[in-house]
């Protein structure tokens, strides 16, 4: 752990710069803050104090056994760089972070180039890494631990997964994570907030991820519980889960850039094999997902690779496509374990939600089965996401026929205008029959979507300044 106070150095550099009108890379990297690098020893039991500007140079870990405290108002800036030169803050397995901001003094994590006063455009993405929290909770991928996407597999501190589902990695509150998601090479990017094997003892509330190049928040297994999360203008999916995520979520808001981004929710069950246990069965209530609009051709939520999960009391808005559930066919009309089977088994529900300007607004258009094109009973030429002849034959042999059952209606979903927009997420018409909360962790509220009558994201986020 090196903490170099480079202020004197920067004065010297400034003096030099007057002498030479040099145009080197050092000019853009000339830091104005406490530069933190990590030679392997991590941050130690440090406290970053109110008023501090911390500059992350490279991957900085909170090692196993260390505890990092970040006080309200601290600004953390990530240096530019890709690959292993990327800058990111990573809480390793066994490490703890206590980053508790306030609505008045949020903790801001942003790019080095950001002067917090418009020097970086609102939608500029990928200028630094992101925040990664790794824990000891269980995954369904074998061998039970994985190297987190974006960190080389040779770095042991990048490995997550274990068997303590109540693991506590600390507290994250009032944090705004901006302009991250740099390229790590070989097709990887860092998510705004990555939670790998994080346990339910960890507190995560009031987090904004804005303009991240990859996903907003991505879960890899574990049971973290997140409340009041705002993801806006990200380059890929807003919320993504893999490897058997079983946590809780309430008051999640996704706002997509009309020009960029993929799904609001990309939900996978297992990786290899996809049917590994424990199954992914999180519960997400009171979400508001605002999509890119009909022209962009993107999708609201995909459940695949045997993903389960429960969405309830939520609002889904402005998207070309609705929700699709993966159906895998096999020989002799035998059912296989897939997301469609998760519905039959009660592990996947989408209940009491409001849809508006999504797909064609019909029950069969909003909820679709999707099947790979070479599935035995599909038409074999294109990938299917409608009720094709082949799929009908296939489903007829099985007792439950997804389309005949009209799950959309049976689950109490409705198509109506809740009066919500990207600029004002407070609904005017979002009441109705409510699904009951499964756990006391959830707040019992009488409205659908992430917002009641007040905008909890107002003031401390970049989205709602």
């Amino acid at each position: 752990m090196k903490k170099s106070y480079l202020k004197i150095t920067s004065v010297l550099l400034f003096a030099l710069a007057i002498g030479f009108v040099a145009c080197t890379k050092d000019d853009d990297k000339n830091p104005d803050g406490n530069v933190i690098t990590d030679d392997g020893s991590g941050t130690g039991n440090a406290t970053w104090k109110t008023g501090d500007t911390i500059v992350l140079d490279g991957l900085v870990f909170v090692n196993d056994g260390q505890e990092l405290t970040i006080e309200p108002g601290v600004v953390i800036k990530g240096m530019p760089g890709t690959g292993e030169n990327a800058s990111a803050l990573i809480v390793a397995r066994g490490g703890k972070i206590n980053a508790i901001g306030t609505a008045d003094q949020p903790i801001i994590m942003t790019a080095f180039a950001d002067d917090l006063n418009g020097s970086v455009a609102l939608t500029d993405r990928g200028l630094w890494g992101g925040l990664i929290v790794l824990g000891n909770a269980s995954l369904n991928s074998s061998p039970g631990e994985t190297a987190i996407e974006g960190i080389p597999t040779s770095e042991p501190r990048g490995i997550y997964g274990g068997n303590d589902d109540t693991d506590n990695s600390g507290t994250l509150k009032y944090i705004s994570i901006r302009h991250g998601g740099t390229d790590i090479g070989e097709g990887n990017e860092i998510n705004g907030l990555t939670l790998g094997g994080v346990g339910s003892g960890t507190v995560i509330e009031y987090i904004e991820v804005i303009a991240n190049k990859d996903d907003g928040v991505e879960f890899f297994g574990g049971q973290p519980r997140l409340k009041n999360i705002l993801v806006s203008y990200c380059g890929d999916d807003c919320f993504d889960y893999d490897e058997g995520f079983r946590g809780y979520g309430q008051f999640w808001c996704a706002i997509q850039d009309t020009e960029d981004g993929d799904r609001c929710g990309e939900h996978d069950g297992g990786t290899d094999p996809e049917t590994a246990q424990p199954y992914a069965t999180p519960t997400i209530m009171n979400a508001t997902y605002i999509g890119r609009g009909a022209a962009a051709g993107t999708r609201t939520i995909t459940f695949r690779d045997n993903a389960g999960g429960h969405y309830a009391n939520s609002i889904f808005l402005n998207q070309a496509k609705g929700i699709d559930f993966e159906l895998l066919a096999s020989d002799a009309f035998a059912r296989v374990q897939d997301s469609y089977q998760q519905i039959a088994d009660g592990n996947l529900t989408v209940k009491n939600n409001i849809f508006w300007n999504v797909a064609d607004g019909t029950a069969n258009g909003l909820f679709k089965l999707s099947a790979p094109k070479d599935s035995t009973y599909m038409d074999g030429t294109t990938e299917v996401e409608t009720y094709s002849t082949g799929m009908a034959a296939y489903l007829a042999v099985n007792e439950t026929d997804f389309y005949a059952n009209d799950y959309f209606t049976a689950w109490g979903n409705e198509v109506k205008d809740p009066g919500v927009s990207a600029n004002n997420p407070i609904p005017t018409n979002a009441s109705g029959t409510m699904a009951t909360t499964p756990d006391t962790w959830f707040d019992d509220v009488t409205y659908k979507g992430a917002f009641g009558t007040a905008n909890w994201a107002q003031g401390w986020t970049l989205t709602f300044k």
Partner: protein
Amino acid sequence: MKKIFILIHAILFSSLLFAGEGIIRGKVIDKATGEELIGATIYLEGTTIGTTTDFDGNFSLPAPEGKHTIICSFISYETIKITDIEVKPDEVSVLNFQMGTASLGLEEVTVQAKEIRRTENALLVMQKKSATVVDGISAQQMSRMGDSDAASSLKRVTGVSVEGGKYVYVRGLSDRYSKTLLNGAQIPGLDPNKNTVQMDLFPSNLIENMVVYKTFSPDLPGDFTGGLVNIVTKDFPERYTFQFSTSVGFNPQANLNKDFLTYKGGKLDWLGVDDGTRDIPVNVEDIPYYPSQKDKLDDLTRSFNKTMEPETKASFLDHSHSISVGNQFDFRGKPLGFVAGLTYSRGFNYYDDGQKNREMLNSENATSLNNQQRFSDKLGEEEVLLGAMVNTSYKLSNNNKIGLTLVRNQSGASRARTLYGTRNSDEIGMYFETRTLQYIQRAFSSAQLRGEHHFPSFHDLEIQWLSSFTLSQQDEPDLRFFSNSYYPSNEGAAQYQIEQSKYDLPTRYYRDMLETNLDNKVDFTLPFDAFGAPSKFKFGANYVYKYRQFNDKRIVYWFQFAGSTYDGSVSDFLSDENIGQSADAYINDERYGIYIQDGTDDKNSYTANQSVLGSYAMIDMPVFEKLRVITGLRFEATNMLVESKDTRKAKGELNNQDLLPAINLTYSLTDKMNVRAAYTKTLARPSFREKSPFASFDFAGGETWVGNPELDRTLIDNYDLRWEYFMQPGEILSISAFYKSFFQPIEVVDNPIAVNPEITWRNVDKASVKGFEAEVRKDLDFIPYLENFRIGANYTWVKSEVSIDPQELASMGTGADDTRVMMGQAPYIFNGYLGYSNDSIGLSANLGYNLTGEKLAVVVKGVTPDIFEQPFASLDFTLSKKFGKYISVKFAAKNLMNESRDELYIYGGKSYTYKSYSTGRKFSLGFSYLIK
């Protein structure tokens, strides 16, 4: 052109003979042991013209024009008399003698000169007398088979298969366990990802023979297990030889094809060198990070060329040309021999039927695999090979000889590839398209000085020494990847997109590698008599040093606007109007256009060095009349250090001292029949690439290969048993069995904790390989009407078993087998040929067949089955006809069966393609002018 030939002739064939005189040259060897006989007397019957042989058994005898009878005699050997030798003025006649030990009643053998015309004799005699298990191929055999380079010849040797036309696999063991020497000196591989030498770099007309050692003896380097190939270049040609060959080749799939995939290269591509067109136009350190210095960033981005996709352009015919000369003449009264050669070839490969898929087993009890990726694959490749070699030898006296070899090889391969298809993880209706443009330029320069000294006055001591220096380079300038998505069913702008979160952004890599290699060696041989039979004691030392620098730079194209500016045309997308602040979308400082960023990953650059100090002592002697034992010990001290430019990465170190014992027993059942048994210990070291944390992939979206600094060397115990029968000169029948036990073998493994498919190398617990091989080469002259035919066949059967890395095994599901076959190990290899040659009409033909069994090609993550490369058969035919004394015309047809090369997953009785393509049939017509 003709004038040049005449000029060359005039210069080279400056005869030092008296008018009306010719020369008879040849070699005298012991028929039983193959040993050269030193001091044998050669004279013309009825004259006083005579000479004695030197320490190589060679003689050179000037003789007057006319027909002579020549006599060769040596104490305790039968005298051989050869009649009707025709000596022409200014010409050299060649005569070799094989002397048998004198027995009662048979003291003189008389042979007519024209009867001596066997070809593979010398090599087979060497094979017979060798202390270890060897196989080989001679220059004559190579030219009869129509082989153009070392790689195509080697696959005709028992148990040898050649991978990708380049890399040698002996007994199916991968290139890791093979080694290549040039005239006994170690030479580095050109490809940093492979442990061995690319055999297609050696043109066959400069090669005297190639010998494959299959068992180790202490005087050989210890790091080969499958086989060691020694390429021996021509030394003292018996007389002036000159060859000019030219040929054109046509593959209906690859040549004169209007759809051939290529891209704009440099002006010197035809010489195998990039002219600077592909150099990086900027200094990566100067690239500002967005969003600072936008003007500069825009300028630097514009300085790159816009070529990032292949174009279609008709390909030309394959063609190759070579010229070589050789002679020996007296220089300051001593014989100086030389051969020099220049070769040039340019070839094209193309396929458009390729498939590159990925399948997955979704659950352990599923009955079929689910497709994850389905791409069609197209590839155009143009390769230029340029080789120059000079080999000179100077005989200081009958007991001293020195030689100098200079080799320079240059190759340039330009590849353009597209992959197009669907991926399961993508949006339904999305097609993924990716393009790769690649140029690999390799060069290899070697200087080798060597000497042989014989001290008759000091117990007949023989000293051989060698010092060789090699510089090799591999540059991969401007390796380009460009990927996009395509939605055929969308309309307008949404049809094409570049989605940064789904695959790599457009990327350019710049890689270069420089390696120096030094090999110094000295061997002492002391002959002595044990139980009345010739024996020898041999000892020596060897120091090999290698130093490599490898650099990798990466430039990535970014943009802050949405990808919809891309309309399917790569060059339009990269046009100046879309760059940075010029982009239409760039308003109020938002949605900045295309810009480059330095994406260099320091971990991908490294320096490495390795020194291996070897020393040995061995003895070769009979223990009783028919049993010969060769035994000894070699010591090798290895020091390897691989340092990544990213100093946070662990250094790859190797410090080993190994004792490698060997015992080889040869029991002569009869004069023509041996039984051999051997126990040897050998080792295998990781390559620099494998020990560096360097990560690379073939195409965007393909598996990533990552090195492992913790790799250790492998130790191998080898057991060999062989029975061989040399029926007639030039004929052999042999059967061998072998067993190899590996400690800590290095295997290619899947890294189960990686999110994306990542392949790495690890030392696994152990492995074993057992098998047998059989070879027959036989003239059919005992069958009436088939006098001119000969057949040859060899077959190798191998069973291998290697333990699976425990971490990987844990991810493979319950009940998974804890062993599998070795990577790249074929369970069987079959080679067969049928040859016809009729010297009286100058016609020869050959039909060759090769079949290699299925091999483990890719280790797949988790429960999904591994991928096997399917058996591949090839059938080649050559026909050549002589016209007059010097000219011959040759027709060759290769890969006549044109089987597709398939790599498959096999699950539940069904096969699923992972990779498939076919290379096409190739026909060539060649002309050659040869003076021999």
